[in-house]
Symmetry: C2
Subunit: 375 residues, 2 copies
């Protein structure tokens, strides 16, 4: 097997560039080599000012345009599932692992490999825009950041928003996360809560002397079973909420009536709710129980009615969709910057061993972005 690449040639096409990026090992916290290559490649273009903080590289045009937009993508990947190297499969060719629909044969040209979907395809598009859009119709700040796939405290976008607020300042942001090549607006919020149920311990041979905490979960589970998640319409996008138990545990020993049981519940809420609203809702749903917040992240309103967003949407093909999962779009939103997801690949394939990006989407997203930055 050839050794890993150590530099990037931005004169190649988007498929070849994505392939090279996939071949660059860049697991979270080990992005130095890929960040060096990005910095070096972009430094060769005189229309760009190149900045760096840790393993985050920022490149921006300074053309005095009336509007500035951010185009961002993360450089890191999750750990390898043995798919470290890019493999191009032409239509009809055998895929390395059955695809998302269980097919063994590709029905389209695809690029397989770690990060192909999440999100080196998007990064390749952004790098080519940075290199070749020498006179974009709006000033652009390109952000290639580290540590998106791990704990939030390491997140490169978070870090530069704190260390260098001016690097991120803009009127609109496009996060090139996989969105199936269509615009996904906003993102839902997420909150995890824990509910503990207490009982009284006893030997199971004398169970009438105890009170079973696991049995005490019954009404919480019934509530979850019967819960009808809201569908919330914002800017023409329908957000479907969800309320799901994600963990349950209880039990002391095989002959003991347990005195404690615990359930963890994940609430995904539409972006018109604050974390406070979300908690109030959960307290109402689980009235009589102590609802303990484990963690949360507020969503992001789609903001599609803003002028910068409108122009973008008109430049790209397809009807905007709501984003259900949480992405760094919420980080822009929290800074008052309307932001959308727009990138090649299916979000559902992120982190999967059979991750791939459709070649056609690499081309179509690149050309949509070129189109937008030209008019």
């Amino acid at each position: 097997m050839a050794s890993a690449p150590n530099q990037l040639d931005l004169s190649v096409d988007v498929v070849e560039l994505t392939s090279t990026l996939v071949d660059f090992p860049s697991q979270s916290r080990a992005e130095a080599a890929i960040a060096d290559a990005v910095e070096q490649a972009l430094s060769g273009y005189s229309h760009l000012e190149v900045l760096r903080d840790g393993n985050t590289v920022v490149a921006r045009t300074n053309l005095g345009r009336s509007e500035r937009v951010v185009i961002a993508g993360h450089l890191d990947t999750v750990p390898s599932s043995g798919n470290d190297r890019a493999i191009l499969i032409a239509q009809g060719g055998s895929v390395p692992v059955a695809d998302v629909d269980g097919n063994q044969t590709a029905s389209e040209d695809r690029l397989y490999g770690l990060g192909s979907c999440d999100m080196k395809g998007g990064v390749a598009v952004a790098l080519l825009l940075a290199a070749h859009q020498t006179a974009p119709s709006r000033d652009v700040t390109y952000i290639f950041y580290d540590c998106e796939e791990i704990e939030e405290r390491f997140n490169g976008l978070k870090r530069i928003s704190e260390n260098h607020p001016d690097w991120i300042k803009s009127d609109f942001a496009v996060l090139m996360e996989p969105s199936n090549g269509v615009v996904e607006g906003g993102c839902q919020g997420t909150m995890r809560v824990e509910i503990r149920v207490s009982g009284r311990r006893a030997h199971t041979a004398r169970s009438w002397m105890g009170e079973n905490a696991i049995h005490g979960l019954s009404s919480i589970l019934q509530t979850l079973e019967n819960y009808e998640a809201a569908k919330v319409l914002i800017d023409g996008l329908e957000y479907r909420e969800g309320l799901q138990a994600v963990d349950v545990c209880g039990g002391v020993a095989g002959n003991v009536v347990p005195d404690s049981a615990c359930i963890t519940i994940n609430y995904r809420f539409a972006p018109n709710k604050s974390a406070e609203d979300a908690l109030a809702h959960l307290q109402q749903v689980f009235v009589g129980y102590q609802v303990e917040v484990v963690d949360y992240a507020e969503g992001a309103l789609p903001g599609l009615s803003r002028p910068a967003a409108q122009e973008f949407i008109q430049s790209v093909v397809g009807k905007p969709q709501p984003k259900f999962g949480w992405t760094d779009v919420a980080r822009f939103s929290a800074l008052g910057i309307p932001a959308v997801n727009f990138g090649p690949g299916f979000a559902a394939l992120a982190h999967a061993p059979n991750e791939y990006v459709p070649v056609a989407q690499l081309h179509s997203t690149l050309s949509a972005m070129q189109n937008w930055l030209s008019k």
Copy 2:
């Protein structure tokens, strides 16, 4: 602190002998020293034939009586809770740890210490009977066995019933397990089963694409909540059954709709049911679910109507009670030998750090047994 004893003097009274036995370290699988001392002490009595298998010591009279009874107790204890040494607390004295009712002061004379309740008090009674009942009214086989407190495969009583069936052969057995100084007849059976619920994994942000296995536990928990345990009358004893969840688990990750959840349920069933009956009942209760047996032990019928049992009951004070927990009584029962629990101490204190035996019960059980073996 004085060093541990290394021999047993059977000329002392039952309280002092219990105290010495408590001071003998004898955690399961480390009973060699105590078994040696028991063997040596009993070998001095010419009316006894002394036998040994591993750390189980058997002593029996061979007087040609028409009836043979077994009097049995285990030598081992659970690991220490810092209560290795016997402490005698007189009425009014401060107890080392609050007692079972939360009192700090003893309302009776008590002997505290590891194994005082489970079951060196009973062993002391049996040793004194062996030494001093030189001409009992029925032949007696005394069994002092090892490894009762750990996995069944190590159990000394099980081992000798397999290696030396003649050592255990008898018309009636008294297991001197703590029974609050009254006769406890039979014991309930126990069965542990597991029920797995499946679902379909999905991201919680798109929960409608999945099927939550934890939510799927809801109807099982409802069944458990609403279950009315039977009360079964046998030989005048009322056995209260129980059906209790003892473990529940499920969950993949904080953002994943789980596709699998599992609940473990312990069924305590009256001794008129076989394991097969018990399973059939559970399959009926949880109809539609696959009920997987983890382990079980059948109960033991009290057998109080048998002549040998009747004579015993008439010799001792107090109304017989049902035994709810499982004990080695069931092992005798399986061999066709009616057996009861009868010993000093409260079963509920077994394995507790504040374990103790009431001094009065040491005396009363000894004298009841002497009475029975004399007539």
